[in-house]
Amino acid sequence: MEIFVQQLINGITLGSIYGLIAIGYTMVFGIIGMVNFAHGDVFMVSSFIGLVALLLLTTWIGIGSVALALVIVLIVAMILTSLVNWAIERIAYRPLRGSFRLAPLISAIGMSIFLSNFVQVAQGPRNKSIPPMFTDIIVVMKGNYDVTVSYKQIAIWVVTAVLLLAFWLLVSKTALGRAQRACEQDQKMAALLGVDVDRTISITFVIAAALAAVAGTLYLTIYGVVRFDDGFVPGVKAFTAAVLGGIGSLPGAVLGGLLIGVIETLWAEYVSSAYKDVAAFSILAIVMIFLPQGILGRPDVEKV
C-alpha cells in the first residue's frame, strides 16, 4: 500500500512534466494540424538552457538562495526557449504553408534531428548532472515504508496547476485565444475577418515553448541529469498524452500526461521496469488506432 501511494506520487510528478510538454503538442496540432515532432527536442534544449543559466547563477554569480536562483532560471529558460521555437517556426514550418500534406512533418523530423545533434556537438554526448537541491521532504504516511513528498514535487504540482489554469483562461477568455480558435477552424476565413494568422501561429509556438521550458527546468531540478537525446522518449510520451487526452484540448493534455505518468511508474514497479517504455509506446499505438479522438476530444470529421 505504501509503495503504491509513493509510486502514485512519483507518477503524478512525472505526469505533470509530460502534461506540460503535451500542451505544446496539443496547441500546435490544434492550430496547424501538424505533429510538431521537434517539440520533445525543444524540451531537451530548454533543459540545457536551464542548466547553463543555473550554473551561471550558482558558480559565477554565487546566488545564495536556491529558490530565487530557480525562479530566475525558469524565466531565462522560458524566454530563450521561446526565441528558439519562434525561430524554428519561421525557418522550418512557415515556408511550408500550402505545401503537400506531409511536408511540415518531414521538416519537423529534420528539425528534431538537427536539434539533438546540435546539442550533442555543442555540449558533448555525456550526461550532464547537477548536485541535488531542495532535498527537504515531508513524510505523509508512516508505515513499513515511509511515503514521502519532496518540496520539489509539490512545486511541480503547483506550477503545473497554475500554468494550466492561466493558459486555459488565456485560450478561452482572451482575444488571442479567440484568434487561435478561429485559426484552428479555418485559417483563410480567419484571415478574411482580420485575424493575423501568422502572428497567432507564432504566438502559439512561443507559448508551447515557454511551457516546454517550464517542463525542462523542472525535469532538470527533479532528476538532476540531462543528455542530448533526452528529448525523444519524453517527447513521444507527451505526444501520447496529448492524443490520449484528446488532441486540441488543454485539460485533456494534462489529464493524459498524468495518466501516462502514473501508468508508467506503476508499470515499472509492478510489471517490469525494463519494458516501461514498451508499455508507453503500446499505449500510444493502441490509443491512436482505437481511440484517436481521445478522452476529452471531439471526433475528427474527414473533410473533402
Binding site: I49, A92, G110, V119
Partner: protein
C-alpha cells in the same frame, strides 16, 4: 537596374535586417554555443566560455543574411522578371548516363583493386557494399513514403527483422545464407502486413507516429528479450555467404584452395559486392515493373489523394498493405545483406536515427524518384565515409572529431531546407508515371491542398 537613390534605402533596410538577424542569432546561440558545460577535476559541472566561436557563428549568419538581401534577392527578382517560368534542372538524364553508371558499378571493385592494391577491401566494403545496402533500404522506404505517400518512421524495424531472422534462424537451424536471404525478405514482408493492418485507418501524421512506436517497440524487445536476442550485446558469428557451398576462408575446402587460387581476404568482399549488386539490380527491375502495374499506379494515386482514390473504386486497403509488404521485403533483404557483411547484429544498429537516416536519403533524393534516391544514398553514405577518411580534419578539429555527428546535424538541416525549397528533391521525378498528355488548367484552390 535601380539607380543610386533607390538603392540607398534598400541598403539601409538590408543593414537593419542584418542587425536584427545578428541579434537573434546571438540570442539563439548564446546559451549553448557561448557557454560549454564541462566536468572539472572534482567531477562538478562548470561553465567555460566560447566567445570567439559564438561571435564567428553570429558573424557568418549575419553575413549570409546580408549577402542574401543585397545580392541574391535582387538577382532572383531580376530573373523572375526576365522570364515568367523559373529555370528548372533537366528532369531527364542523357541517354548515355544509365549504361555509363552500370558499367562503372560493375568494374568498381576491380578499379579499387587496381588502384588501392591490398587496401582495396576498405573501398569495396565500406564504400561499395555499404552504399549498395543503403540504396536498397532507400528504395524500399521509397515505395512506402515516395510512391504510396505513407510516412513510415519505423522502417528500420524491417531491417532489424531481416537481420535477426538471419541471425536467429542461422544459428538455430544451421541454415545457409542462401536460404536465409529470401526467408529474411519474406518474414519482413509478413511483419510489414502485420504492422500495416492496424494502421490502415490512420493517415498522415498519426500513421507516422504509430509506425515510430512500432519501430521502437521492436527495438526495445530486441534489447530486453535477452534469452533469445542476447540483448544489447548482440549476436556474432553469423553465417556468411558461400560460393556454391565453398566458404571464403583459408581452409583446404575454401573457395581459394578448391579453385586453385592463392587465398586472399579480398575474395569475400568482392563476392559479396557482386551479390549485393545483383540484389540491387533485381530490386530496381522489380520496382520499375511494380510502378507500371495497377498496384503501382494505385500507390501513386493514393499518394496524391486518398479520398479520390476510394471513390474511384481503388481498394486502398490492398494497395497500402502491398506497399508496406513490398517496402518491408526490401528492408528485410537489406538486413540479411547487412549480417552477411558484418557477421554481427545488435540493437544498436537499428535505432531511430537509422530510420531517420534512411528517411533523409529518400527525402533528399526526391520522394518517389528511384534514381534520385540512389544518388542521395551514394552522396550521403559515401560522403560520410569520405569524411572519416580525411585525416587532416582530425588535425584541425581535434582527435574527437567524428563526422557521424556532424553528418546528422547537416542532414537534419538539409531536410528542412529541401522540403521548403525543392520538395521534389534535386532530381524531380515525382511526376506521376501516368499522365494526361494535355495538361488541363485546374483551380489553384484544388492544387494547393493535395500532392
Amino acid at each position: 537596374m535601380p539607380d543610386e537613390a533607390a538603392a540607398r534605402p534598400n541598403l539601409i533596410r538590408a543593414l537593419r535586417e542584418t542587425a536584427v538577424t545578428a541579434l537573434l542569432a546571438f540570442g539563439l546561440f548564446l546559451p549553448l554555443i557561448g557557454f560549454n558545460t564541462v566536468q572539472n577535476i572534482r567531477n562538478e559541472l562548470v561553465l567555460e566560455t566560447r566567445w570567439p566561436l559564438l561571435l564567428a557563428i553570429v558573424a557568418i549568419l549575419a553575413g549570409l543574411r546580408f549577402l542574401h538581401l543585397v545580392v541574391v534577392a535582387p538577382l532572383m527578382a531580376e530573373r523572375a522578371r526576365a522570364s515568367s517560368r523559373p529555370a528548372t534542372l533537366p528532369t531527364t538524364l542523357p541517354s548515355w548516363a544509365m549504361p555509363a553508371v552500370i558499367g562503372f558499378v560493375l568494374i568498381y571493385p576491380l578499379l579499387a583493386m587496381l588502384i588501392a592494391g591490398p587496401g582495396a577491401g576498405k573501398w569495396i566494403d565500406n564504400f561499395g557494399i555499404q552504399i549498395l545496402i543503403y540504396v536498397l533500404l532507400g528504395w524500399g522506404l521509397n515505395i512506402v513514403v515516395g510512391l504510396a505517400g505513407l510516412l513510415d518512421l519505423g522502417y528500420v524495424a524491417f531491417y532489424a527483422i531481416g537481420a535477426y531472422t538471419c541471425a536467429l534462424l542461422g544459428k538455430q537451424f544451421d541454415l545457409s545464407f542462401w536460404m536465409l536471404l529470401p526467408l529474411a525478405g519474406i518474414l519482413a514482408a509478413f511483419w510489414g502486413v502485420l504492422l500495416g493492418f492496424p494502421v490502415l485507418r490512420l493517415r498522415g501524421d498519426y500513421l507516422a507516429v504509430v509506425t515510430l512506436a512500432f519501430g521502437e517497440i521492436i527495438r526495445l524487445v530486441l534489447i530486453n528479450w535477452k534469452d533469445v536476442t542476447q540483448g544489447s550485446a548482440g549476436i556474432g558469428g553469423l553465417p556468411r555467404p558461400t560460393f556454391f557451398g565453398l566458404p571464403f576462408n583459408a581452409s583446404p575446402d575454401g573457395f581459394a584452395a578448391r579453385l586453385g587460387l592463392e587465398f586472399s581476404p579480398l575474395h569475400r568482399p568482392l563476392f559479396l559486392y557482386y551479390v549485393v549488386l545483383a540484389v540491387v539490380v533485381l530490386t530496381a527491375i522489380v520496382i520499375g515493373r511494380l510502378r507500371q502495374l495497377p498496384v503501382g499506379r494505385a500507390w501513386e494515386a493514393l499518394r496524391e489523394d486518398e479520398i479520390a482514390c476510394r471513390s474511384l473504386g481503388i481498394n486502398t486497403t490492398n494497395a497500402k498493405l502491398a506497399a508496406f509488404a513490398s517496402g518491408a521485403f526490401f528492408g528485410g533483404l537489406a538486413g540479411a545483406l547487412f549480417t552477411a557483411r558484418q557477421g554481427f547484429i545488435s540493437p544498436e544498429s537499428v535505432n531511430f536515427s537509422e530510420s531517420a537516416l534512411i528517411l533523409a536519403i529518400v527525402v533528399l533524393g526526391g520522394m518517389g524518384s528511384t534514381v534520385g534516391v540512389a544518388i542521395a544514398a551514394v552522396v550521403i553514405i559515401g560522403g560520410t565515409e569520405l569524411l572519416r577518411e580525411l585525416g587532416f580534419l582530425k588535425q584541425i578539429f581535434g582527435a574527437e572529431f567524428d563526422p557521424a555527428q556532424y553528418r546528422m546535424l547537416l542532414f537534419g538541416f538539409a531536410m528542412v531546407l529541401i522540403i521548403a525549397w525543392k520538395p521534389r528533391g534535386f532530381i524531380g521525378m515525382r511526376e506521376p508515371t501516368l499522365v494526361l498528355k494535355r495538361r488541363k488548367a485546374i483551380d489553384a484552390e484544388l492544387r494547393e491542398e493535395h500532392g
